[in-house]
Structures are given as structure tokens and as C-alpha cells.
Symmetry: none
Subunit: 228 residues, 2 copies
């Protein structure tokens, strides 16, 4: 169950050093010293992640990456001698997942490889219940909806954002300036009643309970009453 790394690097000494370190860290390592070798090994589909030097004797690592991206989404970490910033940007644009400047600390390389593999594992595990419940309300970010007793509320985009923030802070007071910043994405100016309007509309849609679910804290902001 160990991860298989394909290491494409022309400098024999460095490649063997890294290969040994990666092996010690529990990876199974395939090595290639040229771009073409690397490309055919990667195409073989028998590795989980590729570490790819950019400076190679035959074809550039960037071209190898381009060729790979034309057919797969195999994770690729670029490795390169001191990076001009533009180089890095290009690397990412071509489809790299990470970019590590040489000389690199092997520990950091391993940490980054593991972070990338972990990310992939997370993404592929069905990450459903990101939904949260507050009393009779249920927030479902995937649908961008909030359900009250399993009935979806007909909220506008802004209303959704506002209620979302209030729920995330359920039980404590959210200052108007923060609510404005977080839900509306701009600063609260004097005499701006926009927020009050959205709160008013939200209360209506939530059923105008008494006492209201969204409490007013005069001079401060609003607070969603924590469910009993």
C-alpha cells in the first residue's frame, strides 16, 4: 500500500540521493534520467505521482508535463534549479501541482508529496455531509440552499450569505460592520440600510417568529438565537 513515485532527474547523484530518501520514507521509487524515458514510464500508469526536473538532456520537463496533461491528470511536482518567478508561473500554467526550487530539502519534498497525495485521497472520498444543522435549519453548501424542516427556503444570494454567517456564529453577536464585510463583501457606510433590509426580509422568510430567531442587539449587530 505504499505510494509509487516516478523520479525524473538527469543528475545521477541527486536522483539516487532522493530515491534513497524517498524509499526510506516508505515510497516505492521508479527512476528515469531523460524526458522521454520519464514520459513512457509515466504513461505506463504504474505510478501515483511524478517528480519532474525541468532541465533534462533531451526534452524539457515542461514539454513532458504538457504531453502528460494532454492525456492524464497524474499529479506532477516540478523540480528546478533556482526559479525565476516567471518560470514558476509557467510551470503552474502548464499544469503542475507544485513547484520546488533546487536545492531542495528532501524532508520538504516528502512533506509536499504527502500533502498532494493526501489532498487527492480527500477529494476522491465522497465529501458529502459538509452540511450543518442548527435546530430546524440545515445549511447545504453544495446546493447553496438552507432548509427549514427539510423545506428549502427561497433565499436570494445575499440573503443566503447573511443567514450563513449568522448561523456560523449562532449564539453570539455579529457586528454589523463584520456582517457587511463577510456577507456583502464591502464596508458598512453611514446611513446604509441595506443590511437592515436583508435582515427584515430574512425574518419574514423564516416565519416572523416571536421572539425573532434573529435578535437585534442595539448598537452592535445581530445574533441568531441558539436553538434550545
Amino acid at each position: 500500500m505504499q505510494n509509487r513515485v516516478l523520479l525524473v532527474e538527469d543528475d545521477d547523484e541527486l536522483r539516487q540521493l532522493l530515491a534513497r530518501y524517498l524509499t526510506n520514507q516508505g515510497f516505492s521509487v521508479r527512476e528515469a534520467a531523460t524526458g522521454n524515458d520519464g514520459l513512457s514510464l509515466a504513461r505506463g500508469q504504474n505510478c501515483d505521482i511524478v517528480v519532474l526536473d525541468i532541465m533534462l538532456p533531451d526534452i524539457s520537463g515542461l514539454d513532458v508535463l504538457r504531453a502528460l496533461r494532454a492525456e492524464t491528470h497524474l499529479p506532477v511536482v516540478l523540480l528546478t534549479a533556482r526559479g525565476d518567478e516567471t518560470d514558476r508561473i509557467v510551470g503552474f500554467e502548464v499544469g503542475a501541482d507544485d513547484y520546488i526550487p533546487k536545492p531542495c530539502n528532501p524532508r520538504e519534498l516528502v512533506a509536499r508529496l504527502q500533502a498532494l497525495l493526501r489532498r487527492i485521497a480527500w477529494d476522491q472520498a465522497v465529501d458529502l455531509d459538509a452540511s450543518r444543522t442548527y435546530g430546524d435549519l440545515r445549511v447545504e453548501p453544495a446546493h447553496r440552499r438552507i432548509y427549514q424542516d427539510d423545506v428549502p427556503l427561497e433565499l436570494t444570494a445575499t440573503e443566503y450569505e447573511v443567514l450563513q454567517v449568522l448561523l456560523a456564529h449562532a449564539g453570539s453577536v455579529v457586528r454589523k460592520t463584520d456582517l457587511m464585510q463577510w456577507a456583502l463583501g464591502r464596508r458598512l457606510e453611514a446611513h446604509d440600510r441595506t443590511l437592515d433590509m436583508h435582515i427584515s426580509n430574512l425574518r419574514k422568510k423564516l416565519g416572523n417568529d416571536d421572539p425573532p430567531r434573529i435578535e437585534t442587539v442595539r448598537g452592535l449587530g445581530y445574533s441568531y438565537r441558539v436553538p434550545a
Copy 2:
């Protein structure tokens, strides 16, 4: 419609600089100046990715990350002044997806954010070669056809792509910009109504049900109504 970044950084000047740059690059930005604010906002599930400074006035960015990881797999990029290698390793071990030392080039930050978001999109993409069924619709990638109650729909190439992407994400909202990228293979420019046209045509071919199978999520994109 655009990716939402949560920027947690206490240095007002730097935060505003980055926020402005990210906005210009097409992100929608939410800001927090403290760890606690950042944590509540991230919990609110109203962002796609988090940029997190480690040095914060109240609680350490690492603790914020730990708390987040206890409940979500939200992508997190750490940002820090100290370049100590051990710090980086710790950051990754706690669950960071990337680690950028300050002072960071905003262009590189954006490139890394986009690489991470792209990786997630790739990972979550459904196996496009398997045939799938959604209610009365059946996608058969081998023939590039979609059947409604076993009767093939007369779709054009683009319509097939659009519907297929919507189905692959059935039940959740697909942003217009993503739909454009995945189905049409190019970026969504301002005033480009192409997608709206294809949606309109698709709805017609699907029978113009009411409520429509392809729901409009104003300001965001479209969503295929998950079959009961």
C-alpha cells in the same frame, strides 16, 4: 460564479494589497484579521479556499488549521514570514495543502491557488468513461449520447458536453465559469451569452418541464435537479 477565497491575515496593509490583487484576478475575497474570525468564516462554508497567515494576534494559524481539519478538508494555503524548514514540515503535517513564505509574489500566490483548485476539480471529476443514470436520463460516453427513457436525445456536440457536466454534478451548483471551461473548453468572457443559449436549447430538448430540470442559480450558474 468565481472562486471565493478567505484571506486570514492580521497585517492590514498586506491583507488589503492581496485582497485587491486577488479580486483583480477574478476571485471573490472575504477577509478576516484574526484567527477566531477566520475560523468562524471558514466554518460558515462560504469559501472555496483559505489563505492563512501563521502569525496571528489571537490564536496561531496552525491552531486554526488544526481546528478546521478536525471537521473539513477545505483547501488551506499557509502563509508565513519565517522560512524555518521545520515550520514548513509542521504546517504540512497539520494538514496544509501548500506553504508559501512571505514576502510572497502575488502572482505566485494566485498560480498556486489556481493549481490547487484545479487539482480538486480534476479529482472530483466523475469517471467519464462509465455510463451513468440519473432518473430517466442515461449518459453513454462510449456513444457520446444521452438517452431519456431509452430514447436518444438529439443533442449537438456542445449540448452533450454541457448536459454531461451538469449531470456529473447533479444536485449541486456548477458555476458558469466552470461549466464554460469544462464543456466549452474556454474562459467565460464578459457578455458571453453562448452558455445561456445552450442551456436554453437543452431545456427545450429535455421537454421544458416545470420546474425546469436545469435550474438557474442566479449569479452563480446552473444545477441539474437531482431526481427524487
